[in-house]
């Protein structure tokens, strides 16, 4: 039996972003002995970078808004591939989750009446994003963090979960290591909630932080749980493009929600040329109508700049390809000519600051360059909508690591609501499961010993490759071959390249010792990065159509047959198997919402 640090809990939450913190708060409130295990310091998780707001049909700005409209927007944004029940629960419960944050101390921007203000965002019929300037994620994470601390929930910071341990088919524990000391920790636990976020670090140009290495996706898959929809990766239309060191950093959609427009190098507002049929009835087709919409949503249709993100990202890509891009391969985002400098600084303070300090650009003075950046993965752990339970007993997933909620494309603002709604549900369900479990699951000590030995192998090898070089190659491969526009031959190439990288990864060498050694951490992260990259590329190869965050050059149209199924990824022995599994059927009373004319 390995001589390592040991802890016992009912529920272990992996990750301390919005979903993890919300899950832990709920599990704790339900009486479960709960721990949060997170790989960064508390309060630094990726949620902190969310800018625009939390979509919730509270009706504070437009009283016409309600959950049905939000539900419909979400489903249409996801090209109907969403798990309808998740989209419904999200639309119904998001308002209560926002008000709960206020109850815990969050200070949202206010309407004239003193209520929580709501802003416009792409794909949303009404202004419905509760926000704090353009730093909503920071407000959310700080509020949840302060709540969790005041409840006295145990937090293991800079502690990375390496593998889950099972007893037969159910969860029994999690093996982790302290980043600081490199020592291992065994958590014996009845339930695990994965709240690990996404996979963006598999791509070269991304808005995601180093943490986004697909940990939860991989832990789930390795444990035998199903993943769905891994081909759907969202490229946010507006990332910074210049200088190179800031390439990919997010430029919030609020710039467009607050009046900014996209122009090509000829000065043309090109989004009018890219309005797809499905959104034509609700999208303005003249600049005059689009401009009137900001003040009158009832009698005018939405500007095409506020189409869902997949549409806008593809349009930008096409403009650049057609030679109408900017000097550094983007297009222009122009808010300077449309709103006063005061207004811009008040509504978008951190954008102003970010461009000023990192790029010497004053966004209140002139249009600035932007281009698509890898932002979000719609695919993830297959979960039950009501409980966030995966297909493995005792394993739950909430937030970006879970699949289904957003279908093939996520609307802006729906992520923060997702974290809260399903974080809470996961916490509740995991606590209930743990309470109902009789005997403590058994942890096989020999398995733990073996996992530790394997994890330390990179120190024992010499002359192997540098893990950083492998990560760069992987990011390059995914960016070039599995990016915004995909095609069969390139996807096949990518799968082969990822396979070769996997072989080489078995032979990486790390220098130094175990204490806070980023080279070793990356060597271990490579396994999850390679796992999710393979899943994305293989799902993308199978789906022979274009939909949401998956565009095939060789299959440019949506295919009604593919509208009925999720690609479902499962580990079979050492192989990964992908099957097409029918979507859950939407009840008739919800189907009627899509028959009425757009209101």
């Amino acid at each position: 039996m390995a001589d390592i640090e040991r802890h016992g809990y009912d529920v272990v939450v992996v990750g301390a972003g919005g979903a993890g913190l919300r899950a832990a708060i709920e599990a704790h409130a339900s009486g479960a002995r709960t721990a949060i295990v997170c790989k960064s310091l508390l309060g630094k998780a990726h949620t902190v970078m969310a800018e625009g707001g939390i979509a919730a049909a509270m009706g504070n700005v437009w009283s016409e808004d309600n959950w049905k409209v939000h539900f419909r927007d979400t489903m249409r944004g996801g090209k109907m591939l969403n798990n309808w029940r998740m989209a419904q629960l999200h639309a119904q419960e998001a308002p209560a989750r926002v008000l709960e944050l206020e109850e815990w101390g969050a200070l949202f921007d206010r309407t004239k009446e003193g209520l929580i203000s709501q802003r416009d965002f792409g794909g949303h019929r009404y202004a419905r994003l509760a926000h704090v300037g353009d730093r909503t994620g920071l407000e959310m994470i700080r509020t949840l963090q302060q709540r969790a601390v005041s409840l006295g929930i145990d937090v293991f910071m800079e502690c990375q979960v390496h593998r889950l341990i099972r007893d037969e088919d159910r969860v029994a524990g999690a093996l982790a290591y302290w980043r600081e000391s490199g020592r291992f920790v065994l958590f014996r636990t009845k339930a695990v909630i994965l709240a690990t976020g996404g996979i963006g670090k598999a791509f070269q140009v991304t808005s995601n932080s180093w943490e986004y290495t697909g940990d939860g996706h991989s832990l789930a898959l390795w444990s035998g749980a199903d993943l769905i929809d891994m081909e759907f990766v969202q490229f946010h239309p507006t990332g910074m493009v210049w200088p190179p060191s800031v390439r990919g950093i997010l430029v919030t959609e609020s710039v467009r929600g607050d009046g900014g427009v996209l122009r090509n190098s000829e000065g043309r507002r090109f989004m009018f040329d890219y309005i797809p049929e499905v959104f034509a009835s609700e999208t303005a087709d003249t600049e005059a109508e689009a401009d009137r919409w900001y003040d009158d949503h009832i009698n005018n249709r939405r500007p095409p700049e506020l189409l869902p993100r997949d549409e806008v990202a593809r349009a930008i890509n096409s403009e650049v390809k057609a030679g109408r891009g900017t000097e550094h391969g983007g297009v222009f985002l122009d808010i300077a000519s449309r709103r006063s400098a005061d207004y811009i600084r008040r509504r978008l303070p951190s954008m102003y600051h970010q461009f000023k300090e990192l790029a010497d650009v004053d966004i209140t003075a002139a249009p600035f360059e932007i281009g698509p950046t890898c932002h979000y993965v719609m695919g993830g752990v297959k979960v039950d909508a009501d409980t966030a339970a995966s297909t493995i007993p005792g394993l739950y997933a909430a937030g970006e690591v879970a699949g289904g909620m957003h279908g093939s494309n996520r609307l802006g603002g729906n992520s923060l609501g997702d974290l809260l709604v399903f974080g809470r549900r996961a916490g509740m369900a995991a606590a209930e499961y743990a309470a109902g479990l009789g005997a403590e699951p058994n942890v096989e000590e020999a398995e733990v010993d073996q996992l530790i030995r394997r994890a330390l192998e990179p120190f024992e090898r010499s002359g192997g490759e540098n893990p950083y070089s492998l990560q760069y190659e992987l990011q390059d491969t995914m960016h070039n071959l599995v990016g915004i526009i995909r095609t069969r031959s390139e996807l096949e190439q990518a799968i082969e390249a990822v396979g070769k990288l996997r072989e080489r990864a078995r032979n990486v060498t790390v220098e130094g010792h175990r204490q806070f050694n980023p080279g070793w951490h990356l060597a271990l992260d490579l396994e999850s990065l390679l796992t999710v990259s393979e899943a994305v590329a293989r799902c993308a190869l199978l789906r022979e159509e274009s939909r949401g965050g998956h565009t095939r050059d060789d299959f440019p149209k949506t295919d009604p047959e593919w509208a009925k199924v999720n690609n479902t990824v499962r580990k079979k022995g050492d192989e990964v198997n992908i099957e097409q599994v029918p979507l859950p059927e939407m009840p008739d009373e919800l189907k009627t919402l899509f028959e009425e004319p757009a209101k």
Binding site: S40, L41, L42, G43, K44, A45, H46, V48, M49, L99, E102, E103, W104, G105, L107, F108, D109, R110, E113, G114, L115, V132, G133, R135, L138, E139, R142, Q146, R147, V149, S150, M157, E180, S209, W210, E211, W242, P243, P244, S245, I249, S350, H353, Q354, E357, L358, A359, N466, P467, Y468, S469, Y472, E511, G512, Q515, F516, N517, P518, G519, W520
Partner: protein
């Protein structure tokens, strides 16, 4: 466009250490963190550094660059004199773990000592109303990204380890002001601020304000008002009399 630069990076652990020189490439538009990452990827795979967002939003990559407390991700290489070596050292106020990574647990311990937000009941219709101008005062403090540079630079604890027992530092004294100014909060943390968390130690040298990457007016808008509230609470004769009477009743 790229240049060779000389970086002097502090390396070591709890047993001590020193500056190591690296000759490394710096490309156009890069920040210090980019160059540190290049050293890590090409010359010292085990160089320890904390970072997350690389966009000035998470407050993880605090360090002392040429002696000045800064975020590595928001410090552009073009701001330095060409040809001069650039030194990067860990924050001095916190114990070194390894290389540029320090043990900042002091801050997380202090956070636990501040009683949680406790709101008054909602309006009659169940909603909560606050005017924008009223929330803005606390919103300024909630911009804090917890980079702990203000804690690092505050000489009450930077130069006096022993004060860490009874001085929470600017970040957490500001948190108290934030709750005090929160339009819905009903708590009273003034005695705590004075008697346990050390607001009287602050002698408003504004070092914290100067290094704040979020440009929060920590001293003027948070610490001085907190000192004023302490004075009102303890020394204002009218408040004192009122309390005396209420206590009797």
């Amino acid at each position: 466009m790229s240049d060779q630069v000389t970086m002097k990076v502090w390396r070591g652990d709890t047993d001590g250490g020193g500056f190591h020189e690296f000759a490394v490439e710096a490309r156009e538009g890069e920040v210090v963190l980019d160059v540190i990452h290049r050293i890590q990827a090409t010359q010292a795979n085990d160089l320890a550094v904390r970072w997350n967002c690389k966009a000035g939003k998470c407050g993880s990559c605090s360090a002392e660059i040429n002696g000045l407390p800064r975020l590595m991700c928001m410090t552009r290489m073009s701001t330095f004199e060409p040809g001069q070596p650039i030194t990067v050292a860990p924050m001095k106020t916190f114990p070194v773990m390894k290389d540029l990574v320090t043990d900042v647990s002091f801050n997380f311990e202090m956070a636990k000592r501040i009683p949680a937000f406790s709101p008054r009941p909602p309006d009659a219709d169940g909603k909560r109303r606050m005017a924008q101008r009223d929330v803005e005062r606390s919103q300024e403090f909630r911009k804090c990204i917890e980079c702990f540079l203000c804690q690092n630079v505050c000489h009450v604890i930077r130069d006096h380890e022993e004060n860490k027992q009874h001085f929470a530092g600017p970040r957490f004294l500001m948190r108290i002001t934030e709750l005090e100014m929160h339009p819905l909060d009903t708590g009273d943390r003034i005695p705590l601020a004075r008697e346990e968390l050390g607001i009287p130690y602050c002698n408003i040298t504004k070092c914290c304000t100067e290094v704040c990457p979020e440009h929060i007016h920590i001293t003027d808008n948070a610490l001085i008002p907190l000192k004023e509230r302490v004075v009102d609470h303890y020394f204002d004769p009218i408040v004192w009399l009122g309390r005396k009477i209420r206590r009797k009743g």
